[in-house]
């Protein structure tokens, strides 16, 4: 029987660091290459009414993202609805991305989400306004909690699991775009492009929340999901973020940009530093930087605005304070 403390401390950095260093590592080394350099773009957006399709379209062009002829699945972060809060990826960012990607030549764009907390997706779609935004943008919704599933081998196995059932719509898409809201997270420290992939795990198979992921370690699950799904593009809603007791009970915090990049680790590491968190102290980002993507700021090329323009310190709960950047 596990104690509460054992469950909570499973994912801590030391354990993962040790497993990253051990021989052989819990992934096929030949299947992963950390890019020598990755680009992350930060594009100003101080309001959700500011022509976000144009912002994202320009960002895609500046980063040289080629989506011509591809089927694209946009994976926003839809968790819970509470008026006036910053829990979810704003539907206007999702619609803006859909329009921009179509304009950039994507063959098909769909929005897919499988909330891990609130299983009532119909309520979430209508209450947040995403239902109307998708209809206006002529974009279809795929319910990832109830999509047809296929069992696939995991590409890394920090969790100890060797396979998971995943939605066929995620597996079949040419390009999965992680579209997180920039938020603090009371267990993982930060929820951004990588953590957002929890919503790809089907609730109709594993239940709500995706408890199997918590049991096997949140950080470990984030790594195995990212390694397996490999989102090819990340678009972060950092127009307004969430600080404090995220991902649901925190406070809204104006930030003012849309973050875009093809390397989800580089995007998450950049966003972490902007809000005052140290990627090396965020277990999954520490691990991800060793095999999934680039987390070294000296090897991340910044496009658009300089990160210093947005640098701030998000409030965090006490247990996360030790993961802040020094100084």
């Amino acid at each position: 029987m596990l104690t509460r403390r054992e469950v909570l401390t499973l994912p801590f950095a030391a354990a993962l660091a040790a497993s990253c260093r051990r021989e052989p590592p819990p992934f096929d080394e030949s299947a992963f290459t950390v890019p020598r350099r990755s680009a992350v773009g930060l594009f100003p957006a101080t309001s959700y009414d500011a022509g976000l399709d144009d912002v994202i379209f320009r960002g895609l062009a500046e980063l040289g993202v080629d989506v011509r002829g591809k089927s694209v699945l946009l994976k926003p972060n839809m968790v819970e609805y509470e008026a006036g809060t910053a829990i979810n990826t704003d539907p206007r960012v999702v619609a803006g991305a859909a329009i921009a990607l179509k304009r950039a030549g994507a063959r098909e764009v769909v929005v897919g989400e499988g909330p891990g907390h609130r299983r009532d997706i119909e309520y979430l779609l209508t209450a947040t306004g995403l239902f109307d935004r998708m209809r206006d943008a002529s974009v279809r919704f795929v319910d990832l909690n109830h999509d047809a599933v296929r069992e696939v081998p995991l590409k890394s196995w920090f969790t100890g699991m060797r396979s998971l059932s995943l939605p066929v719509s995620v597996l079949a898409a040419d390009l999965v775009v992680s579209m997180p809201k920039l938020k603090t997270h009371h267990w993982a420290g930060l929820t951004c492009g990588m953590k957002n992939l929890f919503g790809c795990v089907p609730g109709a198979v594993y239940g709500w929340p995706k408890n199997i992921l918590h049991i096997h370690g949140i950080d470990q699950s984030i790594l195995d999901l990212t390694a397996t799904i490999r989102p090819g593009l990340t678009i972060v809603d950092a127009v307004v973020g969430m600080e404090g007791d995220g991902p649901i009970m925190g406070r809204s915090r104006d930030v003012g940009f849309i973050g875009i990049g093809t390397d989800v680790v580089a995007v998450d590491a950049t966003c972490a530093r902007i809000i005052g968190l140290d990627p090396e102290k965020l277990t999954y980002l520490f691990g991800g930087g060793r095999y999934l993507g680039q987390s070294d700021p000296r090897r991340i090329d910044q496009r658009g605005e300089n990160p210093d323009r947005y640098r701030t310190q998000f409030d965090v709960i006490d247990s996360i304070k030790e993961r802040r950047l020094a100084g």
């Binding site: 009532d120 119909e122 109709a204 239940g207 007791d245």
Partner: protein
């Protein structure tokens, strides 16, 4: 609305007699159980008989060695949906002596969420109570507990083991009641913050605790639902709210009106599970929620 929903649901039936969540998808446990209940609520014996044989044939194929039902496509049986399946078998008058039904009931009795030693963590709940989890090896949650608890309470046979598990389920739901009444999905408080109840989980909790309606937690939860039933506009929330209110002999007219309006807007996302819920709720005046009523 009911006739249109019935037609759409019948159009969506798979060749094997079950339903997938969405058009063209293979049959799954949850939509099949709900569709079977919705299409037979208030129906004649012949219709029920046809639906019963199709459903039991599928459930027999899906039943694992443990007795739980394996949702096709999944690698692990879903305990909560197995409880729902047992409830559907009861609703379609499958005899308790039927081998699939009997093995399923025994498996629901045997299934248990894992236990955690409480050591002052940030989640305030009694983690020693073992009710029902979604899948084996995970924690107990309100929804699977409510389905399994209700299905056992509705079962014709009740031995000592089932009685004990009913006690576990009731203890878990009593422990997780939110401060104003009603239920969240799991906890009522985390990181010192009270979590809020939801309509669908509150309705499910009430259905599972309908024989304990004089207890203060249940009375408070019913009052919360009566006040907030229209706060979440969706087929799932409105249908479950209407069913629970009907079972507690409270008026559900306004909720059903809202369900009609919502259906015109979203068409239940063309999800057979949601359509079946809406169909069952929209015919409540005929069948009085017999499948859920103790």
């Amino acid at each position: 609305m009911a006739s249109l929903l019935e037609k759409r649901l019948l159009d969506a039936v798979r060749p094997d007699g079950g339903w997938g969540y969405y058009a063209g998808q293979a049959s799954r446990l949850e939509p099949t159980a709900w569709a079977a209940m919705a299409l037979t609520a208030g129906a004649d014996a012949i219709k029920i008989g046809v639906r019963r044989s199709a459903m039991t044939r599928l459930f027999s194929a899906w039943q694992q060695g443990s007795g739980l039902l394996l949702d096709p496509g999944s690698a692990t049986p879903n305990v909560g949906f197995s409880g729902l399946g047992l409830l559907a078998m009861n609703a379609l008058a499958v005899p308790a002596t039927d081998s699939v039904s009997a093995r399923l009931r025994n498996a629901v009795v045997a299934a248990k969420g894992i236990q955690l030693q409480g050591d002052g963590g940030p989640i305030k709940q009694n983690t020693m109570i073992q009710a029902w989890s979604w899948i084996d090896g995970t924690f107990s949650w309100v929804e699977p507990t409510a389905w399994c608890l209700l299905s056992l309470k509705k079962s014709a046979t009740r031995d000592a083991a089932a009685t004990a598990r009913i006690g576990d389920g009731e203890a878990m739901l009593a422990d997780r009641v939110c401060q104003p009444g009603g239920w969240n999905y799991g906890n009522s408080n985390a990181f010192t913050q009270d979590l809020r109840p939801y309509v669908s989980t509150t309705a499910l909790g009430l259905l599972a605790m309908q024989d304990r309606r004089s207890t203060p937690a249940v009375a408070r939860s019913l009052a919360w639902l009566e006040q907030h039933a229209l706060s979440e506009l969706s087929s799932m929330a409105l249908s479950l709210a209407a069913i629970a209110l009907t079972v507690f002999d409270r008026p559900a007219d306004k909720v059903l009106d809202a369900l009609r309006v919502n259906e015109e807007k979203t068409a239940s996302l063309d999800n057979a599970h949601l359509m079946a819920m809406a169909l069952y709720a929209s015919t409540l005046t005929v069948h009085k929620a017999r499948a859920f009523r103790m």
